[in-house]
């Protein structure tokens, strides 16, 4: 891809190096602004992808790369940076407003133009990656302190921990000295080790960029954060929220703009701070999608879900699950329904699947009442590969690729192994194991192909590691699910796809009443079900507890989440004293 270089002179005489890709005659111009300590090179992978459809421009910010570097700190205020952008826009797209994209400091300084008046009519849209508006942040801090809930203070403290370097950059001598010495080699190595940034993506002008760029912090941080202005904007803004950002927490980046931005889209991304170098295809796709939508095309389903809708309460909006597409199997009752509703309550779009169409539809109805932006339901037998394939295709066609898939559908079977027939085994393994396999296989492939990561949650059981003489088929199926999860987690980790198993104890759901006992008469069957149901009711463990565990598994990408004391104690015993469990397993604990 050809990269054109030219120079633009800023109002104060500073020369800025400008780089262009693609046709200047293209209908849309995308302007990319880099952060610190980077140059335009950080955008090169994305620019090359975008250039196929747009005129793409990136420039070296003053002090970085091939641009001039004025010596005084006051030459780096947000106002001068805004003037620089104005000069570049006048040169590269004098007639049409551009679509602005900023990363890190590039995003911070772009907010100045987006929320200001000087360039407001020159900007059609703004995509912000890991760089909040400093005024919004100042206001966000103030609002948290005005209403100091434990959660709000926690978020403040967490952001404070992530912002240590800002204080460090204000120190005299030490930061430039370190940049010039130890960090010359350490910085690219750290970026590679921690963020997964590919080798050789750094600019040749590093570490000079890093030393000069310190002026950005020194000129702006203290005045803007201590005296934040109220800066609303009507320009549509897409905020990309890297979930593993070491410097900007997604809670702050997602919430801070909300009161000030009229049209806001929030897109969580399982990535670190340098997403433009690690997730270039995803980001390029999102920028492209957003630009198209702002230019008049209908929103892609994922973009539509990401739009922040007014009227929703703050709690749902700040959830990392907001705007995600979640597919839950067995969502017509019990754990599946509770999980679907918990995700809906957190602002996710929910697709409920169940063998029973009416109950799946009911779950979808409740989900949309709870504020799930788009819902759907399907009647599907998870043990039927063809039906599952059809289901996955339908979800893809209607809603796009799911971000989270919860393989929950399961059936219970109790009784002695020698009374368990082949067809009993087929039924249990078909639903409990193969249902999970189909879900992981079909949706996992979609997630991998899309490249934005995702999460698969498989509902196993405490029975997966607690042997019992009366649960051979059920426990075997669940143990298989647990191991499948562990293997798949290892396999899909590189794709950014998390895989979790949730092992609940005795949850009060319909499974107690639907469990089939082999080797007993029909009347005994009913009696056993009644007794089991009574015990489950006494245990009184609501499916909502499991639902919360599923959300936590996704949020924190946990490998295995145990729910309830019996699951934890059992797990501990299986490690400390498996003999005890074997002893207990020999007792027939079926309530009679």
């Amino acid at each position: 891809m050809k990269e054109l270089q030219s120079y633009v002179t800023a109002p104060d005489g500073v020369r800025l190096a400008v780089f262009e890709w693609g046709e200047r005659s293209a209908a849309t111009t995308v302007v990319l602004v880099h952060g610190y300590p980077d140059t335009h090179a950080v955008w090169r992978p994305i620019a090359e992808q975008l250039a196929e459809r747009h005129h793409v421009v990136a420039y070296d910010v003053r002090g970085a790369g091939h641009s001039d570097a004025p010596r005084r700190v006051r030459s780096y205020t947000l106002a001068t940076l805004e003037a620089d952008l104005g000069a570049v826009l006048a040169e590269v797209s004098p007639d049409k407003p551009v679509h602005l994209v900023g990363h890190d400091w590039g995003s911070i300084q772009s907010w100045e133009s987006v929320t200001g008046t000087a360039l407001a009519d020159r900007i059609a849209s703004f995509t912000s990656v890991s760089g909040p508006c400093l005024d919004h942040v100042g206001q966000w801090f103030r609002s948290r302190l005005r209403r100091p809930s434990p959660r709000a203070l926690g978020q403040l403290a967490w952001q404070g921990v992530h912002s240590w370097y800002i204080g460090y950059f204000h120190l005299p001598l030490l930061p430039p000295l370190l940049w010039r010495t130890a960090m010359v080699k350490a910085w690219p190595a750290l970026l590679h080790a921690i963020e997964g940034v590919p080798h050789g993506s750094g600019a040749p002008t590093f570490p000079t960029d890093a030393v000069r760029g310190l002026a950005l912090y020194r000129a702006n941080m203290i005045p803007r954060l201590t005296r934040p202005r109220k800066r609303p904007t009507e320009i549509p803004v897409q905020v990309v929220l890297p979930q593993k950002d070491l410097y900007v927490t997604p809670a702050m980046a997602g919430q801070a703009p909300q009161p000030f931005v009229g049209r806001l889209w929030r897109r969580p991304l399982r990535a670190g701070h340098w997403a433009p170098l690690t997730h270039e295809t995803v980001l390029a796709g999102w920028i492209d999608e957003f630009v198209d939508h702002i230019e008049g095309a209908p929103a892609a389903p994922a973009l539509d879900r990401a739009q922040v809708r007014r009227g929703n309460d703050d709690g749902a909006e700040s959830s990392p699950h907001a705007g995600r597409l979640v597919v839950v199997t067995g969502a017509g009752s019990g754990i599946g329904r509770a999980t679907a509703l918990a995700f809906a309550d957190a602002g996710a779009s929910v697709v409920a699947a169940d063998l029973n169409a009416a109950s799946a539809a009911r779950t979808a109805q409740l989900a949309s009442l709870l504020g799930s932006p788009r819902t759907g339901w399907h009647a599907v037998d998870v043990s039927d590969p063809a039906a599952m394939e059809e289901f996955a295709k339908a979800v893809h066609a209607e809603h796009g690729v799911p971000d989270v898939v919860v393989n929950n559908a399961g059936i219970g079977l109790g009784g002695a192994f020698l009374d368990t027939t082949t067809s009993d085994w087929d039924a249990v393994l078909g639903v409990n194991l193969m249902g999970v396999v189909h879900g992981c296989r079909l949706f996992g492939a979609m997630m991998k192909e899309r490249g934005e990561g995702g999460h698969l949650v498989n509902i196993a059981s405490a029975a997966a590691y607690l042997p019992s003489r009366t649960l051979s088929a059920y426990a075997t199926s669940k143990a298989a699910v647990l191991m499948l999860t562990e293997c798949l987690r290892a396999e899909l980790a590189d794709q950014g796809i998390g895989v979790s198993a949730v092992c609940p104890g005795f949850v009060n759901t319909a499974i107690a009443k639907a469990t089939r006992y082999v080797g007993v008469s029909a009347s005994e069957q009913e009696q056993l079900r009644g007794k089991a149901d009574r015990l489950y009711r006494l245990r009184n463990l609501p499916p909502e507890r499991v639902a919360e565990a599923v959300l936590r598994a996704v949020r924190e990408n946990r490998p295995v989440v145990l729910v309830a004391a019996e699951a934890r104690i059992g797990r501990a015993l299986s490690r400390l004293s498996p003999g005890t469990l074997r002893f207990v397993a020999r007792r027939d604990l079926t309530p009679r």
Binding site: G311, D313, S333, R337, S359, R362, L366, L369, A510
Partner: protein
């Protein structure tokens, strides 16, 4: 209202069946005897109307920023100004996620707090005034400016009212009815929140207070009501029954004749809703004491083109074998209200 009813008992319809039973019961359960006389039922109905009018009046005054304590205080004042002279329990108000008793561990958490009402928030007002020994216990659910989840729950509560009545008429054991309600809750996808009430009760019996003594309040309950309840607990225990309707073995008996304050309380995530009203149980039948209540009126208004109550044949206690299926619809319940509604209108 109360004096008007008192002044015109003669106009009110006597349920012959109930009257007969009353006489049978006079000897065995003296404390319940007044509940069976039609005049007494009218007095109960009047107190229940009073309580619901209080809830509606206070609900209309709720504004953003009002606290639960303020709402409860308003109910208290309204009721005392309008004829209540004692409490079964003091008025309760629950806002927001407290409508589902979210994370309630101790009974103290039922008491009103400083939680403030916000736009879109659900609320529940629950009051139980006593007037001249006649007790009402009602629950009124609403929201500030509308809440889609609560609206759905309130709509669905209609089915619970019909289900409970139908199964009581079948004289199923109370704990089985409780489980039928749980099954319906599961089908709807809600959460049973009445199990958070002390004793997990779906309903509790209400009798006429005949105890003398000071009208003090202990732990939120009127002392005289507690005395009565305590006596009932003992008396019923002796005959193997419970005045508290839960899902345990102690409720494994057919519905006890008398008055039951039935309070299905449902939740979906952080939104709760309930109604609470008196169910009259006789030896072989049951009916809701009053159908002219806010939630029933709302369902009636929702069901456009419903059968005119006047065209329905009068339900007789003796013909209920054929009417069992019918009881699942609100239509039958409405037939029972006809005379009562008119009588009240004439009384008012």
């Amino acid at each position: 209202m109360l004096t008007a009813v008192r002044g015109s008992p003669g106009k009110l319809r006597a349920d012959t069946c109930c009257a007969d039973l009353t006489e049978q019961y006079v000897d065995t359960m003296s404390n319940k005897q007044p509940a069976w006389a039609p005049e007494d039922l009218d007095r109960f109905r009047a107190v229940q109307q009073l309580a619901y009018r209080c809830a509606e009046a206070v609900a209309a005054t709720l504004e953003p920023g009002v606290t639960e304590k303020q709402a409860a205080q308003r109910m208290r004042h309204w009721l005392m100004e309008n004829g209540a002279d004692d409490w079964f329990h003091v008025p309760f108000a629950w806002f927001g996620d407290r409508t589902t008793f979210h994370r309630f561990r101790t009974p103290l958490q039922f008491f009103p707090t400083d939680k403030r009402l916000e736009e879109g928030m659900p609320f529940i007002l629950d009051c139980a005034p006593v007037a001249d020994g006649y007790t009402a216990d009602i629950g009124y659910a609403g929201s500030l400016g509308g809440n889609a989840v609560q609206a759905q729950i309130l709509e669905d509560l209609q089915e619970y009212r019909a289900l409970i009545l139908a199964e009581v008429r079948e004289r199923k054991p109370l704990n089985e009815i409780y489980r039928s309600v749980d099954a319906l809750i599961a089908r709807h996808g809600y959460d049973n929140r009445h199990r958070v009430y002390p004793g997990r009760v779906l309903a509790h019996q209400v009798t006429r207070l005949k105890v003398r003594g000071p009208r003090a309040i202990v732990a939120g309950f009127g002392v005289r009501s507690l005395q009565t309840l305590g006596r009932e607990l003992v008396a019923e225990r002796i005959v193997g029954r419970s005045p508290l309707w839960a899902d345990g073995k102690s409720s494994g008996h057919a519905p006890t004749p008398g008055l039951w304050a039935v309070e299905p309380h449902l939740g979906l995530r952080r939104v709760g809703a309930k109604f609470e009203e008196l169910l009259v149980v006789t030896e072989d039948d049951a009916y809701w004491l009053d159908d002219d209540l806010p939630h029933v009126r709302a369902w009636g208004a929702g069901a456009a083109g419903a059968t005119e109550p006047e065209t329905q044949p009068e339900a007789q206690a003796g013909t209920d074998e054929t009417g069992v299926a019918d009881t699942a619809t609100p239509g039958k319940a409405r037939t029972r209200s006809r005379t009562r509604t008119t009588s009240k209108e004439s009384a008012a």
